[in-house]
Amino acid sequence: MTTPIPMLAPRPYRVVHRHAETADTVTLRLAPVGAGLGAWSPGQFTMVYAFGVGEIPVSISGGSGPVIQHTVRAVGAVSRAICDAPVGSVLGLRGPFGQGWPEPPPEGDVIVLAGGIGLAPLRPVILAGLNEPGRLSVLIGARTPADLIFTAEYDRWRAAGARVLVTVDRAAADWTGHVGVVTTLLAQLPAIDVGRPPPTGYVCGPEIMMRLGAEALIAAGVPPERIWVSLERNMRCGIALCGHCQLGPLLVCRDGPVVDAGHAARLLQHREL
């Protein structure tokens, strides 16, 4: 049989750097203690194990060489344990798993639409897109200014030539930037020229935000088959053995998490699927 042996046991990774992005979100850089995981592609995830606590799927938000970067939000016991991991502590990683973000075609603009923690799985797409910054627009939405992540990098991306627009749902007193849902940032992009190769959209964030974001991109002229979203479901094994992550015909860990927006919309239109 040529089926690869699925990874059941985590590999030890040491926390070599940590940075608090917001009050509840931390970026960790992890280096393998022994054998590391294989090469990963943007949009893939690993199952991150906090010793004795549990394991959750986390999208890879960056990294180079053997180092893997994860940006984690503390929303439960396991994620909190991961967010609390000090430099020098050891976590377990399994992966990389899943279908990642497809590479943009050689022509056409790239529009990245990110809501909240959704910016983390999109960061590798942005970094790859900086190779051709004139094509790249990054639209970022968050709850409040204090909830924006990777803020130190926005100016770096702008300096490289990408268009980076930021909005919040609720402003603090000292916020002078845009206020409104992230889809309102689309109005600030140049109108899509139907005569030119169409743009490709990458959308990530809460499920409703992804649906509205995809709809807004379609309304602005991006073909639905060129819009990619990242789905999320309860994952236990990450390797299509436990059945938890099903969304209709999809096993999200194996057939996703990235799918095209049309497919996602057809599935998500059914309540409680």
């Binding site: 929303v75 402003a171 007193a173 002078t176 206020v179 109005a187 809460p206 935000m209």
Partner: protein, 152 residues
Amino acid sequence: MNTTRELIEAHPFLAGLDPSARQRLAGAAHRIHFLPGSAIFAEGGRADRFWLIQDGRVRLDLHLAGTGPVVIETLASGDVLGWSWLFPPYRWQFGAVAVDPTLALELDGPAVRQLCDHDPELGYELMQRFMRVVVHRLQATRIRLLDLYGQP
């Protein structure tokens, strides 16, 4: 966009109106330009105008005691600024400040209300357009209220 007429022809809010309606509206409108940072209207002020934004950005804000002005929303090209001129007590609920150099069409509130009173068909067309804007803004606001990015 040099003349009021050109702005009226170009603005998406008025798309689909017949030429005579547009001509009558033109009589109640003029082109206006705001420098960044300039106040367009103040909270509590008399609401007797409204604007169709062609270019630029405007922020709506509200003064909170102890915090100062907090931005409620940012409007941009294609948006309609100002609804309180439609109904008594004709007072602005929020303030509005230009963020960028902003080009807009400013319309005379009472004059447009009179036009609608005399021509119910024009009134219906304008109300439809306003409703679309308001519904769109309400839906977006409701999404923000859902606090989707909040803790589960």
